[in-house]
């Protein structure tokens, strides 16, 4: 099963991080077409026709999001979410570090479409190297007239501003990101109002993921209708999947949504399990979603099918566990992450992740007590749907399904006083 490369089409071309090589491979044609031949509304229509859905996790239709901006003459902002912190996800990183002009072109084209003069790219603090790479790309684009006071002589001003976060997973949540971008603690805002009506500095704002904005470039190249023919009716286009964990060829793979099964991704593209081992379970959408077991591996990779299989496509971060992995240990590791990253604003998440962590810890270390599994399930249901932002539900995604699918493993840790697999070999 081959990849279908649109975003990754030229990623292996030597020197593609420089503007000249990028231009030689069709770079900035979409921006030219948009700015010189199309009205902003026509660009929005193309993206609408493409059926592109947000690649940051929630899968909201991008064109629809853009169309929500009120037409009231206020300053508008475009914010690119480059916070990529969902464990198991490393696709935006590869786009930024290897083909930075694709993102810059996508940001400029999208800013033109929604009528934003200032676009911001919010990078997680750890992407300091990516910051420098984008800084250089912006300087090159400026020298060619693609951004600045007068984009391609059109009279339009578009500026791209880089902003470096400072270490906080929650800043990937769009309203927490806006808080952080305004120089505050990254705590989520109450919605509504949504960013489209009151976002950055209180102004109408679109927040989109790196992969989403990069996809605008091929969409304009091929036309929205052509793009929509890729994938399935409701899951259009291509998507990057990051495959990591216990797998022979980890990597980012770009495939047509719905045309490739999880099994094909894991075996044909990622090379199958490490020598002498079998796959045990997969978390397919970043660390925040339920497990899938091998009996579900024939599920096609698209939003609807994965939902039908009881999990979510999420960010496309596919974490693979083989027969050496202990599910109790893995879910503990994830819970430590969510406890650490809970912003503390609401009680169910702040206290819930703390207690879950504590109980899981003792189960994992062999000091679990009868009733602990019920306690874990109870704690999960006290978080489920009860938190201020989706981080709460994210925290219990893997654990909740782990308790159901691997109940015996949790049980055995309690009755046997430790991991029945012995010291976990890594």
């Amino acid at each position: 099963m081959p990849e279908t490369r649109l975003l990754f089409k030229n990623i292996d071309v030597p020197g593609i991080d420089g503007i000249d090589v990028y231009e030689q491979h069709g770079g900035y044609v979409s921006l030219r077409k948009a700015v010189l031949d199309m009205t902003p509304d026509a660009v929005v229509q193309e993206v609408m026709a493409s059926n592109l859905r947000g690649r940051g996790g929630a899968g909201f239709p991008t064109g629809r999001k853009w169309s929500f901006l009120p037409k009231d003459g206020r300053t508008r902002y475009l914010v690119c979410n480059a916070d990529e912190s969902e464990p198991g996800t490393c696709k935006d990183q590869e786009l930024i570090y290897r083909i930075p002009h694709l993102l810059i072109e996508g940001v400029l084209t999208s800013a033109y479409a929604i009528g934003a003069e200032d676009a911001f790219i919010y990078l997680r603090g750890e992407f300091k190297g990516g910051y420098r790479i984008l800084e250089r790309a912006i300087a090159e684009a400026r020298a060619k007239g693609y951004l600045g006071e007068n984009v391609l002589g059109s009279g339009r001003r578009i500026e791209v501003n880089l902003y470096l976060g400072a270490g906080a997973y929650i800043c990937g949540e769009e309203t927490a990101l806006l808080e952080s971008l305004e120089g505050r603690r990254g705590m989520p805002r109450l919605k509504p109002p949504f960013p489209a009506t009151a976002g950055l500095y209180g102004m109408p704002t679109v927040v989109n993921n790196v992969e989403t904005l990069s996809a605008v470039v091929p969409i304009l190249q091929m036309g929205g209708a052509e793009y929509a023919k890729l994938g399935t009716e409701r899951s259009a286009g291509t998507k990057l999947f990051s495959v990591s964990g216990n797998v022979r060829r980890p990597g980012n793979f770009e495939v047509e949504l719905g045309k490739v099964t999880l099994r094909e991704l894991l075996y044909d593209l990622a090379g199958g399990p490490p020598e002498g081992h079998e796959f045990k379970a997969v978390i397919p959408g970043g660390s925040s979603v339920p497990f899938l077991t091998p009996d579900k591996f024939d599920t096609p990779l698209d939003y609807e099918s994965l939902q039908g299989a009881g999990t979510m496509l999420g960010s496309g971060g596919v974490i693979v566990l083989d027969d050496r992995a202990c599910i109790v240990n893995a879910t503990l590791r994830l819970m430590e992450f969510y406890r650490h990253e809970s912003c503390g604003k609401c009680t169910p998440c702040r206290e819930g992740t703390m207690w879950l962590n504590q109980v899981l810890q003792r189960v994992e270390s062999g000091e679990g007590r009868p009733g602990d599994i019920e306690t874990l399930a109870d704690l999960c249901s006290n978080i489920d749907g009860q938190t201020f932002c989706p981080l709460g539900d994210a925290a219990i995604g893997a654990l909740g399904s782990g308790l159901r699918l691997f109940h015996d493993e949790y049980e055995a840790h309690i009755t046997k006083g430790g991991c029945p697999m012995g010291e976990v070999v890594r």
Partner: protein
């Protein structure tokens, strides 16, 4: 802050549509210069921003990349995210702590190295991943880490 950074900070105040956005970039300047955010600098930042030191404090404590204690010349951060853990991150981390004789999240006595275990750094396909002073080191092995430590220590003793 040194004079150059102070000037950069004063420029940053006017860089964004609203002044408040300058705070995190300015804190980055301080962290880069000192390897942490010294108490005295909190006051300087507050003055530049026109806010109280308590406010600066409340923001900086939210973010893990801002340190309250001095860090070593090399900040070695080992990813303990699940994908890295499945690929031997624990072993790397133990090795590093043993080799340098430091506690978890500790700094060596000579101030050369600080070791931290951090959450996923978006290099999962290149697990186990390490970052040193925020530069990525993909697919790390104990041997490579050892070579790095030796090289860094040698450069310092030779005064480079």
């Amino acid at each position: 802050m040194n004079a150059a950074n102070l000037q950069k900070a004063q420029e940053l105040v006017h860089r964004f549509p609203k002044k408040s956005s300058a705070l995190i970039p300015i804190l980055h300047l301080v962290e880069d210069e000192f390897g942490y955010i010294p108490e005295a600098e909190v006051q300087t930042v507050a003055d530049v921003m026109g806010v109280t030191p308590a406010y600066v404090e409340s923001v900086l404590t939210f973010y893990t990349l801002f340190h309250r204690q001095p860090t070593g010349k090399y900040l070695v951060q080992v990813c303990r995210g699940l994908s890295c853990q499945l690929n031997g991150a624990d072993e790397l981390s133990h090795f590093l702590h043993d080799e340098l004789g430091v506690q978890r999240n500790g700094t060596t006595d000579d101030g050369l190295f600080t070791v931290e275990e951090v959450e996923c750094i978006a290099l999962c396909k290149d697990a186990p991943a390490v970052q040193i002073n925020l530069e990525f080191y993909p697919r790390m092995t104990k041997e490579q880490l050892k070579a790095f430590l030796d090289q860094a220590a040698k450069e310092v003793t030779s005064g480079a």
